[in-house]
Amino acid sequence: MKLLIFELYKIFSKPRTYISYGVILVIIFLIDFALLFSGQEYIDFLLNTFKDSFVIEGNILNGYMISYIILQTLIIHMPLLVALVSGDLISGEASSGTIKILLTRPNTRSQIYFTKWVTGELYTISVVILLGIVSLVFGIMLFGTGDLMVLKSDGVDLIQSDDLLWRFGLSMSLAVLGLSVVSTLSMMISAFVENSITPIILTMAIIILFTIIGTLDVPLFDLLRPYLFTTHMLVWKNLFDQDLNMNLIESSSVVLLVHILIFYSVGWYYFRNKDILN
């Protein structure tokens, strides 16, 4: 527990930790205020194709809608914000030499690795919670509540307001799971290198590569796609389907958990046997 407090104290003493929080808050406020002044034009644009098929009544531009838009916008950029902190957890200490202090105190390397991983996870959770809670609370304060209209490629899903809060909660949990893969991956890379930049760049490079493989319609990639964590990272969106596909949500969660386990094990094994030479 003391080791965890030690790690948390360190990451929350660094300015880079607050970059993510700052970026999230700025974007939430920008989107909220932009939609406050020109939200109706935005809704009209979105519903342009459906305006002849539906009669829309009630408050469509509500806090849930705003929060959903913000989630969609920000979640794409979250891996970078998470890697910024997780990628520095071990390599940052290696480059500054402080890893020697940690390793020459009465704690095992396994304890140190696990504590650092938990720290990365807590940070990831804090970022998602901040995003979720601030966007929801601020959105509801400015725009009130109402049913959530979700535009799909094949139509529109309308989810009633009293059916929404649990969906937001569970989608946040799935977003945390997806981002935990990123956090564990960047920490694994962090165990292999001696500088903070490489884990961040390499993590983002892997995500971009996997995303490209996942979106290109090439038969060879069809075989790979189900095994790439990037395919399953956006499973949180499925929580906003009218009819939930629980099998898809469960299988994606398992794939993400397996990735966390693999990345954690590889990083832990390497760190446990690593010679500290600098």
């Binding site: 030690f6 390793l103 020459t104 105190r105």
Partner: protein, 303 residues
């Protein structure tokens, strides 16, 4: 034979085909200052890192206070404080916060933590709330010692601790090390490139070269076992030099004030007798066995 704080047996560490440590067997006595010497690349830092568990040996055993580090890590680290190459800190935090955090992860009970005492010992009281990034090199070095001592370890391992210090800082550091041994009975393993520093503070020395042990033992005994360096001042230096050359087959280095040469200590009475018989006035006769010479002799014969 002194009781050993650290025992290294048949230690090997290789990187591919390169043997950084090769069948090393050493004993570091308890409550003494041991100087670790060797040329660059001899394996000094590798040895220290192996003792601290930072590098995994390829083969062999290390016992610290009778506990094998293969099984004893991390509990043995309760007894060790170290600075390897340079003291490392969280520079964005204050000195006090650094020490508080280290105390926290050192599994100490509240009554075992005395941060103020450590700060006082290294003369950092008054500056303890400044961020470490604003410290001078000497202050960081002193804080490094405080960091070593925060958990009151029995053993202190210092790798090149005086690197970058000014002469005043070196003297201050040396006095602190001696104080730690004399007042607090600490066992200190110290490596340095400055042989005179090692000679001034060490009770025991270990010399390694190319990863192998070349010599180890009590410094006073090791220095006395060899030839002495003689510094001789007489009223007629050229004649003195000639007598030395003819009778002792020793090459003398003459300056304007004295002659310096090597001589077995058993022959010193003969030298004095010869000088007196030749009516030379002896103003000064110093004998010294320098670590520098011993070190160079030993390492050159083990190339």
């Amino acid at each position: 034979m002194d009781e050993s704080a650290i025992v290294v047996r048949n230690l090997y560490k290789s990187y591919g085909s390169f043997e950084a440590i090769n069948d090393l067997n050493i004993d570091i006595p308890k409550g003494k200052i041991t100087g670790l010497l060797g040329p660059n690349g001899a394996g000094k830092s590798t040895l220290m890192r192996c003792i601290l568990g930072l590098i995994k040996p390829t083969k062999g055993d290390i016992e610290i206070l009778n506990e094998n580090i293969k099984t004893g890590i991390p509990s043995v680290f309760r007894h060790i404080g170290s600075i390897i190459e340079k003291p490392d800190f969280y520079t964005y935090l204050s000195a006090r916060k650094n020490l508080e955090l280290l105390a926290m992860i050192s599994k100490l009970k509240a009554d075992q933590i005395n941060i103020q005492q450590c700060l006082d010992l290294v003369n950092l009281t008054g500056r303890e709330n400044d961020k470490v990034k604003n410290y001078s090199h000497g202050m960081k070095q002193r804080l490094g010692i405080a960091q070593c001592l925060i958990h009151n370890p029995e053993i202190i391992i210092l790798d090149e601790p005086t690197t970058g210090l000014d002469p005043e800082g070196i003297i201050e550091f040396r006095n602190l090390i001696i104080r730690l041994r004399d007042e607090f009975s600490k066992t200190i393993l110290l490596s340095s490139h400055i042989l005179s520093e090692i000679e001034l503070v060490s009770d025991h020395i270990i010399i390694i070269n190319k990863g192998r042990l070349v010599a180890q033992g009590n410094i006073a005994q090791m220095l006395n076992e060899e030839d002495m360096v003689i510094y001789l001042e007489t009223d007629d230096l050229p004649r003195t030099e000639s007598i030395i050359k003819n009778n002792f087959n020793s090459t003398a280095l003459a300056s304007e004030e004295f002659i310096q040469f090597n001589l077995n200590k058993e022959k010193i009475p003969n030298l004095v007798q010869l000088l007196v018989e030749n009516n030379l006035k002896i103003y000064r006769l110093d004998t010294k066995r320098g670590l520098e010479e011993l070190y160079l002799n030993i390492t050159s014969t083990h190339q």
